[in-house]
Amino acid sequence: MSTALEIRGATKAFGDKPVLRGIDLDVARGSVTVILGPSGSGKSTLLRAINHLEKLDQGFVRVAGELIGVKVKGDRFVELHERDILTQRSRIGFVFQAFNLFPHLTILENVTEAPISLARDVAESREKALILLDRVGLADKAAAYPRQLSGGQQQRVAIARALVLEPELILFDEPTSALDPELVREVLDVISGLAGTGTTLVVVTHEIGFAREVADRVVFMDEGVIVEQGTPAEIFDTPSHPRTREFLSRVL
């Protein structure tokens, strides 16, 4: 299996507070990786660094072999021009905890905004958007506005919006943490439906059940480092590190 995502030596501090302290991670193409860890462990920062919403202090991220946000110049990395970073981001989907749908645009416009702004064909973008909305079960809401939808429905729209550019990699930042418990399932079902379709998924979540069912690999982070990683069975049934065991005992 080839590598969809490669992170090496990712280091980042907010002020003097280190958040990422040298992260190395490889994610296989088409796989589902779940990142677990206590809050403040750096999971979200790591995820946001993958599509360069956060700049790394040191280290690099490569998606499908391409360096993200930087290029090599001489003997070091230099940051890319904003325009080029935007082009790279259009190939990486991102789903936010707070959905971040555009409230002044209809559901359909939310999904078609990116392809239309990237000068893709308008009619084709609409058609594709409607197919995706149908796939997340919201084709009948195309003309509604985000605030007319429940949280679960909004997050499903956000997933359709991330899918419309056919990204090779989709990042989920606690996609169900802002949802009422009874709405979590519908969103997790949509995400599970994406597993095994060839798209690579990296999911930061606290949903242990989801991780066990859907993940190919589970990564446990604490205090800015990857403490251990492995298959769900390895991590949940036979965790080797005391910090993993302690975390699991609190959330299971």
């Binding site: 082009t87 936010f96 555009f102």
Partner: protein, 334 residues
């Protein structure tokens, strides 16, 4: 003293449990309560509210009566002055100066706000300096300064320092309306830029993050995602600015520009007996403009409220139709 208090409190002792208010000498039994439960609950009445309303109505009617009975209002003269060509000419200038300055100040205000928010320290400081200067100076001072600009800089121009220059005479550039518009705009841009900046800051940071992560180009992030949402809070404050601008345009009189107020002032000194009707005429026109602006504002706000509420509020016209509709026994219009 303490004796009295004690005797009073002892008097009350047997009454506790039943005497909660003057209408409830005995507690109703549960059968009665069940019966009451079926009846609609009477809302609390507000007698004081009605008395105040009556007083206000009486005062208002008294004033309204004087509009008809007091001959000094001279309504017939108001009727002739209101369409007087000189007045209409002043009106035209007021509208032009206000209209152009409003457009210029919105465009300029957005640019200055963007400069202020930019990461470029030179742009951001210059923008801050500009806002500081023109918010501090009274408009009338700015106008008179501009009026005398010819004395300060007989010619103005731009060029490469110590290199070739492009120059024109100040007097030929800053004439009449231009001077008025430039003066009004300089001040308005400063105020508007703060309104725009506040609006841009009010949009949730997640909106730009979402736009970035979708790879939406920068210019479109602003025009399609950020600005439309910011305009929701910018519009009411900006319309307030325009109304202020409309009134500020009366200061143009002091730099020899005959706007509506200037014309009325001039005519007032020519026809001293007509001063009251002339003031009434000016007031009526200002009221008309403000009302028109108010109506336009309502519809613009409605437009930018898309998606903000679960349901778009009805327009006053729709509400009226609906109210009339429900009174009809058939209820044809819903």
């Amino acid at each position: 003293m303490s004796n009295i208090l004690r005797s009073r409190s002892t008097e009350r002792v047997p009454a506790t449990g039943t005497d909660h208010g003057r209408d409830a000498p005995t507690a109703p039994d549960s059968a009665e309560l069940e019966r009451f439960a079926a009846r609609p609950i009477r809302p609390l009445r507000h007698p004081a509210r009605w008395i105040i309303t009556a007083l206000v109505v009486v005062v208002a009617l008294n004033f309204a009566q004087t509009l008809f009975t007091n001959p000094a209002w001279e309504w017939s003269k108001v009727g002739t002055w209101i369409v007087n060509p000189t007045i209409l000419k002043g009106l035209r200038l007021t509208l032009l100066a206000t209209g152009i300055s409003a457009v210029v100040s919105l465009a300029g205000g957005i640019l200055v706000a963007l400069a202020r928010l930019s990461k470029n320290p030179v742009l951001s400081s210059l923008s801050w300096l500009y806002v500081w200067v023109f918010r501090s100076l009274p408009l009338i001072l700015v106008l008179i300064f501009l009026y005398n600009l010819g004395n300060l800089y007989p010619s103005i121009g731009i060029g490469i320092p110590f290199g070739p220059q492009f120059q024109v005479k100040t007097v030929s550039v800053l004439s009449d309306l231009t001077l008025g518009v430039v003066g009004l705009s300089l001040a308005q841009i400063a105020y508007t830029s703060e309104v725009v900046r506040a609006g841009l800051l009010s949009v949730d940071a997640g909106q730009l993050e979402a736009a970035k992560s979708l790879g939406i180009p920068r210019r479109r992030q602003f025009t399609r995602i950020l600005l439309p949402q910011a305009l929701r809070s910018i519009v009411p404050a900006f319309v307030n600015q325009i109304i202020g601008l409309l009134q500020a345009s009366s200061l143009l009189f002091y730099v020899s520009l005959l706007d509506l107020f200037g014309v009325v002032q001039n005519l007032g000194s020519t026809y001293p007996t007509d001063i009251i009707p002339l003031l009434v005429v000016a007031s009526i026109w200002y009221l008309v403009f403000t009302s028109v602006i108010g109506v336009i504002q309502y519809y613009i706000e409605r437009f930018y409220a898309r998606g903000a509420a679960r349901e778009v509020p009805l327009t006053p016209l729709q509400r009226l139709r609906r109210a009339v509709g429900t009174r009809r026994p058939t209820g044809a219009i819903r």
